[in-house]
Symmetry: D2
Subunit: 276 residues, 4 copies
């Protein structure tokens, strides 16, 4: 349709690219919620997704759609690859520490716990209520597909290759993802310095709420919002930085983050229509 | 009462010691489910529990009641300090790796997710249904009290001082605890070697179910049992060992583990009365 | 304080009246969320609450704060007795049928299922997560206190004394109440006539969503709103009317309903500040 | 296979009959958990299931497999039609009242709340965790298929045709069904008489636990058992009998009830292998 400026794609990876090609040819801005255009290097995509990239010719157009990292690029992008819940919670959790050089990037361990909406809405016997209720389990280790985009963005922040451990877990709730990250500090860093680095990095960000040293984030406070809440701690016993983040996997972890990108792309106020 | 041979104490720490003293004086075997006699060093106790040890004179009598590590000592102990859910899941998860020297003990990170029964049964506004339902949060960082006993036992296994990162989380289920552990491997270790080390360590253990390389444990399978299920993986990308364990926080993580110790102490078959 | 026009009381019954007296003396409009002023007859109050009414002198001032029934009286009331979740769901569910004379009022049976927030936020061992999770039970039968106000309002609608059966149940969710009502029809009434009677009664009501004959309400759709959703069916096999209603027990069943009454009382638009 | 004496069928209705025919021809005892042989009258089956009965020639062989009602017939039956969770909870809840003539059978209203396992284990988008979690809804009104077998059995008990109102609900738990029943009393009946009628009817039943006048059943106490718990009350305000029953929809409501029937049929002790 000619009067459409922007197309949102909420499709499985592989399928999304098929739809993106004609949309881009017709000059539409595409905001894609699949993984197809999040990884800039098609070889990394092939390694993690087990198939050749379905539309590598579009990759030069694509911007990783995390506003807190790529706000300017999003404003002019033809194709915005909007990130999902695990990457958002881990990348934003580590961005201040890596860009300030606080941590040894070879020691990063991220553990995430996700509610069931993170798996999408599909008729799958492993997703029915009695399978998830009253149950906890890790899955997708040690090489979860999302590591490809997570390590790409962390490497850009650190300005060198970063490889991390990531363990996702499934818990019996519908909406909400909680991530806990540890990494060994480079040299002496105290709680105040760590807190300041995070406060500086996120200054002015409308959708990032940074906790102080006296509280930790809980998922219930971010449900149905586009907010990510983050807390940072220093553990002197182990010389480690601890980072905690929570978000709604259907909010900042998916749908509303894509709307935030659209607002940027089309010069709306960034918070337009989005629950703070 | 004269005809009682064995007393179980399920009391808050501090209070438990008050009851243990007269019981021991009367010659009873005491199985204590509090933290009072789990830490052998009263200074470590004071550091983590913020008060002088309430009955240090009983400590020489006490054995850490984890049958898989201290079976012989339990058989003759006067005071058995039965461990709780977090320590059991972490210590048993790491015991094979540390005793076989597979990992660099300075790089251990343990993340645990617990159901609500882990907090005990008390009238507390933070434990009511609407506070826990549909919510995920980390808490008790960076120096959870149970680290005192965890690091004591890990140090005994490693034969040197071990300090670890431990992050507990609360999730909306009643019973079940899931622990994920990562540590950097010392030298080349492949999946087969790691699996073998764990199989050797737990050979013949009636209450440890070791998964193979094709499945990961889920809490639902251990509810209402005294079983701990463990899986081990090698991540070649990050040269890390990954360990996963699950148990029922009221079973192997508390009540039935204490019964297992009693069986040992009084020469009953170790599995007597306990659900496999 | 002199510059306050309106006081909300969210206190236990008995206590609320103590605070209402001085507020009324000072000329404030009181919106009370307790049961103290919902029952106009102090003898009925004494029968159901087991104590003499704490402030009968205020009863002539009081209006039962259900806007769909008493909108005009609320606009000038000194004391608005805002109803809770069970009464709202049952009274609004039956109001069209009783005022249109569709049913035999001696045959009314109401079954309600409530989430845990219906019990309020208090440190009570019967409300902790493991007591409510994975559990269903009826309670408070056969003479639940709220029957006093429910039967008062139903009697006003029917223009004769109405006595009903009411069975409340507790289910493992935080927010949401679902009510199912049956009653034997007076004479021949078909689905279309029943639907029309309900549509007529609720015409123009901003917070009542009446389902058609092809869907039934579900609590999840009303969480965090001031909406009540209602469906009506005719069962020709048993000559009964069936009514279904859902609401958020903290929304239309409590807090936002009180705000709706305040809007009416102070000439704000009725929907001001309230989520539709 | 020649050495098989008994075949359990856990298949959808319609399909079960296809398998039952050859099994019966080969002389096997069939215990069928579908609805195919629960309704003795093929016309009623056609009315409720929308298709001609798939094997009416087997109906004379079939016994409704509720041991508390048909114990002797089950002992010699060729085909045992094992009932599901809703019918078991309602029929056993009403059996003492109907056989003692306590209630007016035209006034029976049954409301049931079921956990998600009641819907079976299938990949269905309406059964995934986020659809059931934090939600309550009624469904299947006014003519749920199970009414055909419920009314058949109630009519046998009452010795006249009985038609009832039945409203099933779905709640966010995995296992457990709770049923609340009301009916108007015939003449004067007090609590003691009602309690006695229920105690007499269920005397000696190994899997029925009758509560006294001071407690109501909760589903959590019957999970993973073959027990049904029942309580009875008299409401003098409305001259109604109230009955409450709970069971595990996979236990007494399905699998273990079928085993109870097999025990009877093959002269094992009735409680063999079944959790009390």
């Amino acid at each position: 349709r000619e009067d459409v400026d922007c197309v949102f794609l909420a499709l499985p990876h592989g399928v999304a690219a098929e739809f993106a090609v004609p949309c881009r040819k017709a000059g539409k801005v595409v905001i894609d919620l699949s993984a197809d255009f999040r990884v800039y290097d098609p070889e990394v995509y092939a390694d993690f997704y087990g198939a050749a990239h379905p539309a590598p010719e579009l990759l030069p157009d694509a911007v990783y759609g995390l506003p807190e990292l790529h706000r300017d690029a999003i404003k002019t992008a033809g194709l915005i690859a909007s990130p999902g819940c695990y990457p958002t919670s881990i990348i934003l959790g580590l961005a201040p520490a890596l860009s300030a050089g606080l941590i040894d990037s070879t020691t990063i361990v991220a553990n995430s716990i996700s509610g069931a909406t993170g798996a999408g809405r599909k008729a799958d016997a492993s997703l029915i209520f009695p399978e998830i209720d009253e149950n906890l389990r890790a899955y997708g280790v040690p090489k979860h597909r999302h590591l490809s985009e997570i390590e790409q963005e962390l490497s850009l922040l650190a300005k060198h290759n970063v490889t991390i451990s990531f363990i996702p877990h499934l818990a019996p709730l519908a909406r909400g993802i909680q991530t806990s990250i540890t990494a060994i500090l480079k040299g002496e860093v105290d709680a105040e310095q760590a807190q300041q680095a995070y406060a500086d990095f996120f200054a002015g960000e409308p959708f990032v709420l940074l906790h102080g040293q006296d509280s930790l984030p809980a998922t219930r406070n971010v449900v149905r919002t586009n907010r990510i809440e983050i807390a940072v701690r220093v553990d002197p016993r182990t010389s480690r930085l601890l980072v905690f983040s929570v978000e709604d996997n259907l909010g900042k972890g998916a749908a509303t983050q894509a709307v935030q990108a659209m607002n940027l792309r089309f010069d709306f106020p960034e918070t337009e229509g989005l629950p703070l």
